[in-house]
Each structure stands twice: as C-alpha cells, then as structure tokens.
Symmetry: C2
Subunit: 479 residues, 2 copies
C-alpha cells in the first residue's frame, strides 16, 4: 500500500532536465579521474540511487519527535548506529554526554474575559512551569525587541508582553529576528512582566506555534514564555484595535530532567591519510511536536546518503570521512557543555588539529543553490574543479562567507577547522520549522537527492585531494 | 497599528483589471433601469465599498470559535442582531430553538508501544466520551468505506478502524467521500471495533485534523470517532508497512448538553410586494477549533454586505429581502428538528408559500465562477439580464443544477422554494475547512468583495423583478 504523494513523485522541471542531461553527458576530456568520479557520484544521486529518502522516512516514522535527551532520541541514535554499521562504515560509535533535558508536559493558553478563546501557543524550550493555577495578565504588545527595550523598568508590572515582530520571507529574516526569542523573556522580566508571548518566527500562514529555545539567565529562562501562532497574534492585535482589554491565561507543566544525549560517529577510514578528518554533520534531535523531517531528518539523510554513495566505491578516498549525527542541537545555549557540538569537541580535542574540514546540513531538503568557500579555496585548483562538478546542478558561488557553518560544527570552526557551506533554498523552510507540521511530506524527494548529489561530489573531492584547506583559507586568493 | 496582510491587500490580477474596467464602463444603452442599478451595486462592491471584510473580521475576532449552542454562538447572534439594526434593516429578530449541544472537552490520541508518538487528531462532532482511562486497540486500515463494509461482522473485535480514504483536489471530492465520515462509525461498530480513526477529509498538507459531524444511530454516535491529520494517517500506514503493529490510545471527555441555538432574521421590507420573500442565507455557528472565518463567517459577511448595499439605495426593491443567519448548521442530522434550517421552516411554515427564492453562501470567500439557475429561469428575460450583469466578473452558466442549495435552505427547497446557486472557486476551501486553521487570514479581501458584488446584483434583480421563479422553474425552457 503506497501512500499517494504527488509532491514527491515528480522532480521539479529544472531538476528533471538536469537529471536527463547529466546522465547523457560524456565526461569532459579535461576532467581528471577524481573529478570524473565526483560527477558520477553526483549523477547517481540525481538518478535516484541514493538512500536518503528511505533513511529519513524510516527515522521520522519509527521515532517521531526526538527531543534532546528523550527516549526517542536515544532510540533513534541506537537505530542510526546499527544502520550505519549495516551500510558498511568502518567504525561506528555512540558517544554519550550528560544533559539537563526539558519536557513540555500539558500546557494551554487562552484569552479570558468577555471574549474567551483558546490560543494556538506552545512554551518555548527551557520555559519554566507556571503555577498549577496558571498565570494571568493583561497583554501589552510590542512590535520589536527595541520597542520593548524602550519601555521603562517597572512599567510592565503584572503584564504579559506580546512581542509581535513579523518575519519576512527573505534569506536572513529568521536570523534578524531570533534575538527577540532569545532576549525578550529577560527584557520583559526586567520591566516587571509575568510572562512573554512571542509571535512565531515563521513565514507560513498555517496556525502553528513555532517553538525554539530561549536564552537562559543564571541557568534558567526568567519567565514563562510561549510562542504564539501568527493568526493568534493578529487576533489579539485586532481585539486591542477594537478597544478591548485582552487578558490571557497561560498554563504550563514544563520541567527539567537529568538525562543524557549522544553523538553518533561513523567513519570511512581514509586510504592514505586516515588522520586527516572531514566532518559531515547533521543532528538527530528535533523539536517535540513535529517529527523533525526538515529539522533535521533531511540533513541526517543527506550526509549519510552522500557518505554511503562514496562507501560503495571500490576504494576509500585518501582522507577520512566522518559522519557525525549530533544530539541535543536544538537546546544549545552559549558557553555550556550541554550540546552535541561541545561534547564532540571535548572528546576529540586531541585530533581537532587534524580535522581538515567541517560541513553541516541543517536547513531542510530545499535544493542547494550556492556554495560558500573561503576565498583562497575558491580560487584554488580544488575549488575550480568543485565548481565544475556542481555548476550543472544550478549551484553558483555564494556572496556570503562560510561563517561558523552551523550550530553543530561551530565549536570546531572556532577551534580553527575550515568550513564550507552548501547553501540551500530556504524559502519554505520557515513555514514548517519548529512546528507540529515538520513532517515527512514536506520533503521533496528530487530536491533531497539534489542535496545528496552536491554533498557526495564535494565530500569525495575534498577527501581525495591533497589540498591544505587551512593554508588556502589563510592565504589571500590569487588574482 | 495595522497588521501587515500582504495576501489581502492586493487584488488578484484578473479581479484588479475587472475593477478598473467596470468602473470605467458606461452602462450599455439597452440595459433597463434595474439592470443599471444592479451593475452599479456590483461595481460599488468591486471598488471596495462593501462592509463584508470588516464584518467578518469583527465577528471572528470578537467571538472566535462559535460552536452550535455555545455561549460564543449566542453572543455572536446578539452582536449580529444589534449590528443589523444599526445598519438600517427594517426588522431584526432573534428566533431561538432548543438544541442538544456537543462539547469537546480534553482529548488526546497517541501511538503506544515500541514507537510512542502523539497524533494530531480530534473527536468528530457527536462522538461519545471514552472511559477516563481511554480506549486502546490495534489499528486496522481500510482504503474506502466499501472495503470496510466488506469486512465480516465480528472481524474487527477490539480493533480501531482507520478509514484512510484520500481526498483529491477536485470539485465533488468532499461530497464523494463524506459518506465515510457519516457511516464508518456504525459500520466499524457492527464489526466489533472499539473506535474509529478517519483520515481527514481535506486537501491541505498542514497537519490539522478536519472535524465534522458523523451520523447518529438511535440518537448517538455508536463509537468514539476521531479525525486524524493526513500526515498522521500516513505515519501509521508507514509503520504498518515497516512490519510494526500499531496500537493507538484515544481519550475524550466529549459530552452532550441541553442548550439552545437561534436564527437571526433581518429584513428589508419590499416596497410593492412585501409578502414575497427572498431568503439570503448563511450560518453563524462554526466548528470549535478555528474561528469559522471561511465556514461560514465569509458567507455571513457576503449576504449581510450585499443586503446592506441594497439598503443604501434611495428606495427598497419590490420584494422583501430577508437575511437569515442560521444557528446550529454544523450539527445537522437528517430528520431532527435541531438545526437552524428546520427551526426556520417550522416557525415560518405559514409564509413559506410566499417565499419566492432562497440562496445560501457557505463555501468560503473564493470567487464566484458560475451560476446555477433552473433552466426556465436561465432562459427568461430575468435570467438573461442577470447573466449580462454577472458575466463581466468571470461568471458563467453552471453545468450543475441548483440542487438543494445548501444545508440551511434545504428544508425550504424541499418545501418548494426555488434556489439559485452562485458557485465559488473551492479549490482551497478544503485546505482549511473544519480545522483550527480556518482563520481570517485565509480570506482574500478582493475575492470576498467579488462575492458581494455578485450577491448584491442578483439579490437586487430578483427582488425588483416581477418574474415568478416557481412558474419559470416548473416550465420547460423556451428553445
């Protein structure tokens, strides 16, 4: 009984043409052997020979939501490790680390008074429980974090702040507004508020709360803090515009629990330089309402499938490829050891000097559209060969630098490991991100395979070359 | 503080052009005075002069969900009556009737066992409560009601049936599959099942349960019956395909309560033939998770705004226009008096012979695309004039007959009152219908106004003509 999935069965027209064209094309005469192999890996993935879709389907179906430190996250890690062993990785390890986890429990949000209505809302990660009787207060809206910061200390005594910032559908929209999620609870608390409502950081019109972690202060979130669906923030705003006082009651049984998380580390040993390690990163944990298909089941499937295509080759590449499926990404707080990225760095500190490259896939399954390389790498023979292989898939050089490469690999990058970034089409990502609607049907199979194609080609070329990415990153590019 | 609503601010290109063209067009020389007035009403609505959007905004904002017989439905009726009086209707009455209402209470649905996961599910209207400890059983899927009916009696002892019918995005798709919602609980009970899961009758991919009433047997729904989001039905199907047994636990505190509902009746008295009544129908009640914006706040706004445009004219039309905002539409069961439609017929039985026409708006705010008239009416001078006024708005004669015209007016139609039907674009209606996502932002303002334009022109022409719609409906059309 095959589910009917029209959106997944047909490749977008551009991708469909590319698959046909690339399958028919003979290798360019000038391409060297590594480049020809990279092109073949790419074409295999585009032709649907990669295991990515089946992997993310089974991960999200068997385990559903996988909150950091939950039984589902642990079970997913065990399953992934077993599957990676079966796929022929040379060494697979589960590396546990301690974690203070957060559980949601029952919760509710409602307008009370003359116009009682339930609200579509969900506590932000780390938010403390309310008293059993709930918290009630009059809502005071602010359009921006700056506007909230302009309110005098004490001016919000007993109130519930609604931070009603609106997110545009543009690259960088999320990053520009996420400080509101991180800092508004503290700013509201400083001014006497008893709770915070955050208009969801999202682009969709479906009535879901988009959750996410907020920032701790002295080890805790200072106020009960809820994400509110955009439609419900609008509803409150309209009631206020009608001249009504809006009182909201919030209830939450959220709790912190001592638990653990883990990274799953699976390596293809390099044939000639096994100590030179390339990290291919994604994260196994997810938020707790959806099944974490785009965040980050897709990334897990992309890096596993890309490495698995390379593992099928008659021999290993020169350098080691290390797939790291991180735990506890979603709960990252700065300067705490309680994330997969920090735990990996702590455990592998002695080898980090030999890590030649780190890359992370954590932006859904939208097609790769651009590549960010350090300028010196982009201008090198390696960089030029890489672009030759990626260009036919409609991938261009990015105007953005690689930056820290992602939450999981940021600690490695801060320790000096170069990062490359395959930048994806994220125009629909924030329709679903951190909501109950992050489910398998949001993944387009052809676009997922296009990601695998780019990752396999890049990972192969990077593992097969002798190029020193650290040195190239430090050097000025040739004119 | 004006909310940012890009989707509402711009008219679709076609409508935008029409507004410009129609505003500039001089009346055709052949058009008689009534037809010119109809065209002017149409153009006023297209130009944004109708009150529809404000009306549905305030209705859905103030009262949120308005389940049949709830305090919110009662308050919405009081508000609507007061507003209609203020708008200048000649007579406004609230007509109450008794109702056994249904309340949802707390509820949950989850997969238990090796792969525990919460499900996005909601009890169907009328579904009985489960025991406090819930109901648990192994899921058995069926692709169609016919497949369920083919299962032997007793073969589903202790099981939970999943009716996994998939709805296409096509006119008639809902009607073809709604018998599954009505009859599957009884069919499952007959075969020994303990509960029913119904894959949502909907076309969207957002993870919402689409609820709706199911059919009573001996005054009750025979089994706890839940609607399940499509993504969750897929999840169960995939788990079964992986060889897993899927056990589900359902919990519901649903209850029936003695209450009342009401119809709000607001009339513009006819200048020459006040006893000849034209009913313009919509319903005030809604399902309980969304705010009933498309079902049926839009319809309420359309009929009110159309009548209000006519009320602004220097004199009343010949016949009476009666706006009826029904209560308790969503809980309609056949052959019970507990609906607004049945209550209206019972109360107005003596005048029904003078009702010359009934029309209902209950399909969201999608643009009107076609008009269903009885053939004899379509071929009459009245019908030809009507088409001349509607055609410029991209409205064509429908291939479908008017049928019973809608749930609210069906009792009138069965009692012999002719119905006309303005058929709307419903291609997105079932993305939101009967879900928490039925909220104001799903209404396109320009399309809403196009509906008002069509309704105002039609209502005016029908109220101003002397044509006998009953006689024309009974006659064969002229060749």
């Amino acid at each position: 009984m095959t589910p009917h999935r029209p959106a997944m069965r047909r490749a977008p027209p551009v991708l469909g043409c590319l698959i046909a064209l690339l399958a028919a094309a003979a290798p360019a005469p000038a391409a060297d052997r590594a480049e020809r192999t990279a092109a073949r890996l790419r074409d295999q993935a585009l032709a649907g020979e990669a295991i990515a879709y089946g992997f993310v389907s089974e991960l999200t179906t068997r385990f559903g939501p996988r909150p950091a430190g939950s039984a589902a996250e642990h079970a997913a890690a065990d399953w992934a490790a077993a599957r990676l062993r079966a796929l022929g990785f040379d060494r697979v390890a589960i590396e546990p680390f301690p974690l203070v986890g957060w559980t949601r429990g029952e919760e509710s949000a409602e307008i009370v008074g003359a116009h009682p209505q339930r609200l579509a809302a969900a506590a932000l990660g780390g938010s403390p429980a309310t008293p059993a009787s709930g918290i009630e207060g009059e809502v005071v809206p602010f359009d921006s974090l700056e506007a909230l910061r302009a309110a005098p200390v004490g001016s919000l005594e007993g109130r519930i702040v609604l931070l009603n910032q609106r997110m545009p559908r543009v690259a960088g929209g999320y990053g520009a507004l996420v400080p509101g999620r991180l800092f508004a609870p503290g700013e509201a608390a400083d001014r006497g508020a008893v709770a915070l409502l955050l208009r969801s950081l999202g682009t969709g019109t479906a009535r879901f709360a988009h959750v996410g972690s907020t920032r701790y202060r002295d080890g805790r979130v200072p106020l009960p803090s809820f994400a509110l669906a955009g439609a419900d923030a609008d509803q409150i705003e309209r009631l206020l515009a009608l001249g009504e006082t809006v009182r909201v009651r919030l209830h939450s049984q959220a709790a912190h629990v001592d638990t653990h998380s883990q990274n799953v580390v699976a390596e293809l040993h390099g044939r000639e330089a096994p100590d030179e390690v390339i990290v291919l990163a994604a994260h196994l944990d997810s938020w707790d309402a959806g099944t974490g298909a785009i965040d980050d089941g897709a990334g897990v499937a992309i890096v596993v499938a890309a490495a698995e295509l390379i593992a099928r080759l008659p021999q290993r590449p020169r350098r080691s490829l290390r797939v790291v499926l991180y735990g506890a990404e979603e709960v990252a707080q700065p300067h705490t050891p309680e994330t997969g990225g920090a735990a990996y760095l702590a455990r592998h500190a002695a080898e980090v000097g030999d890590h030649v490259l780190a890359m992370e896939s954590d932006f859904g399954a939208g097609a790769v559209q651009a590549l960010s390389l350090p300028p010196g790498v982009a201008a090198s023979d390696f960089g030029r060969a890489l672009y030759r292989v990626l260009t036919p898939m409609a991938i261009v050089p990015s105007r953005e630098p690689p930056g820290r490469g992602g939450v999981d690999i940021a600690p490695l990058v801060e320790a000096g490991v170069p990062a490359f970034v395959l930048r994806q089409d994220g125009s629909r990502y924030f329709d679903f991100h951190h909501t109950a609607d992050d489910t398998l049907d949001k993944i387009d199979r052809a676009e997922l395979d296009q990601n695998v194609a780019a990752w396999a080609a890049l990972a192969w070329l990077a593992a097969q070359t002798g190029a020193d990415f650290r040195a190239l990153s430090a050097a000025e590019p040739a004119e």
